[in-house]
């Protein structure tokens, strides 16, 4: 699980061009949207594509994505349970 969390942080920084962040700057419980990393709706679309491409998880319900993208901890737990690749 720790390796997955590390991987997620690296991918999020790279794919969302969060140039001002390093892996160490992101706590596992930090909010990804709003006051935390400050991600927005375009980032949410990028993350949905990342889940599909890297872990084989297809999200179709926008309400569901709100729950899953709460933090690295929540996201990692969801991926571990639902990943198909």
């Amino acid at each position: 699980m720790d390796a997955l969390k590390q991987e997620l942080k690296e991918n999020i920084i790279e794919q969302l061009n969060l140039e001002e962040f390093t892996v160490e700057d992101i706590d596992n419980d930090d909010a990804l949207f709003g006051d935390g990393l400050g991600l927005d709706s375009i980032d949410a679309l990028e993350l949905i594509v990342m889940l599909d491409k890297d872990y084989g998880i297809k999200l179709t319900d926008p309400e569901k994505s709100k729950e899953i993208f709460q933090s690295i901890n929540v996201l990692a737990a969801y991926i571990t349970e639902h990943r198909t690749k």
Partner: protein, 341 residues
């Protein structure tokens, strides 16, 4: 008909033209087939949260436009008009390459929504919350001049007081290399590097202190033979009631290819006029002629340009009327006439 004043001009180029005092103190010599722009510290102009998604074209456009508006002392223009030959080619490349690599699946939105020609004008408008007229011209090497024509018509007709006008193109990462390969197959290819840049200006109907120059005329012509270019130029000057003896400097877009013959015809016509060239130092790209617009404004403002730009220069001179002429591969000819207020 109102006069079209130029309130400010700024330029990001392969030279340090975006310096604090907006002049080039020393020419940087370049070698190689492509040269990137001298990029400023964009954090000084754009919030980090927005900066992370921006390609070089958008960064250059937003930074240059902010400085142009600041220098013109304008918060929000009536209209934003840009020209771009290739638009946001870097994001276009990213999007298309992802399309191929992922077999048309897993396409992310950012590169796609930012891959268009009007991304720059759109981002500037979003930043300024400017809901006015917003148009981008994608017309090869007369993209910037097309934007100028639109703005000049609106200012002269009294439809707009202040218009932000710009020309911007970025190198990208891949397409430019293919262009270079194809170009090298030509009998007499382009001899200057390929490059990128952004030049923005504020055009206005208001006469106020600190005006840079007057945009007297802009004309675009699709095709003409080299031997006819002198007549075309004479006719252009005649239409604008300017005698050829009044031209203090002509800025030409020589790039070393076979079509430089057009410029040679013009040089013969003006034996005593100063001549300047710039593409050796700022490279060739579809809106590089906007850099000549910046140079012309510099001359009229009385600022000093490095001697390397001059192919012919009188000892000391005051520049009241400057003519810009550019063409690309024998087509898309443009004449721009700048005068002192």
């Amino acid at each position: 008909m109102k006069t079209c004043y130029i309130h400010s001009v700024v330029s990001i180029s392969a030279q340090n033209s975006f310096s604090e005092n907006d002049t080039i103190s020393e020419i940087q010599e370049h070698s190689g087939s492509k040269i990137p722009a001298v990029h400023p510290t964009y954090r000084d102009f754009i919030p980090l949260s927005q900066l992370r998604r921006m390609s070089p074209a958008v960064k250059m456009g937003v930074a240059a436009s902010k400085k142009a508006l600041e220098k013109a002392n304008i918060n929000k223009p009536y209209a934003i008009i840009t020209g771009s030959g290739l638009g946001c080619i870097a994001d276009t490349e990213t999007f298309l390459n992802t399309l191929i690599e992922n077999e048309e699946q897993f396409l992310t939105p950012t590169a796609f929504i930012q891959s268009t020609h009007n991304t720059v004008a759109g981002q500037i408008a979003l930043g300024l919350k400017c809901k006015g007229y917003n148009t981008t011209y994608a017309h090869g090497s007369v993209s910037f001049e097309s934007a100028l024509v639109d703005a000049q018509l609106q200012v002269e007709a009294g439809e707009a007081n202040n218009i932000l006008v710009g020309g911007v193109d970025e190198l990208g990462t891949e397409f430019v290399d293919y262009v270079h390969i194809v170009e090298q197959k030509q009998k007499q290819p382009i001899q200057v590097p390929l490059s990128e840049g952004a030049t923005f200006c504020v055009l206005s109907s208001e006469r106020k202190e600190g005006i840079v120059a007057v945009l007297k005329a802009v004309e675009i012509q699709s095709k003409t033979a080299p031997e006819n270019i002198v007549t075309e130029m004479h006719d252009f000057l005649k239409r604008n009631k300017v005698d050829s003896s009044e031209i203090d400097a002509i800025i030409l877009g020589n790039n070393g290819d076979a079509f430089d013959a057009y410029y040679q015809h013009i040089e013969k016509l003006f034996p005593k006029t100063d001549f300047l060239q710039y593409k050796k130092y700022v490279g060739e790209f579809f809106t590089t002629s906007a850099f000549a617009f910046w140079m012309g404004a510099q001359l009229i403002e009385g600022k000093t340009l490095p001697k390397q730009f001059f192919s012919r220069k009188a000892e000391s001179k005051s520049y009241k009327t400057v003519l810009l002429y550019n063409q690309f591969k024998g087509s898309q000819h443009s004449f721009v006439l700048l005068t002192r207020c």
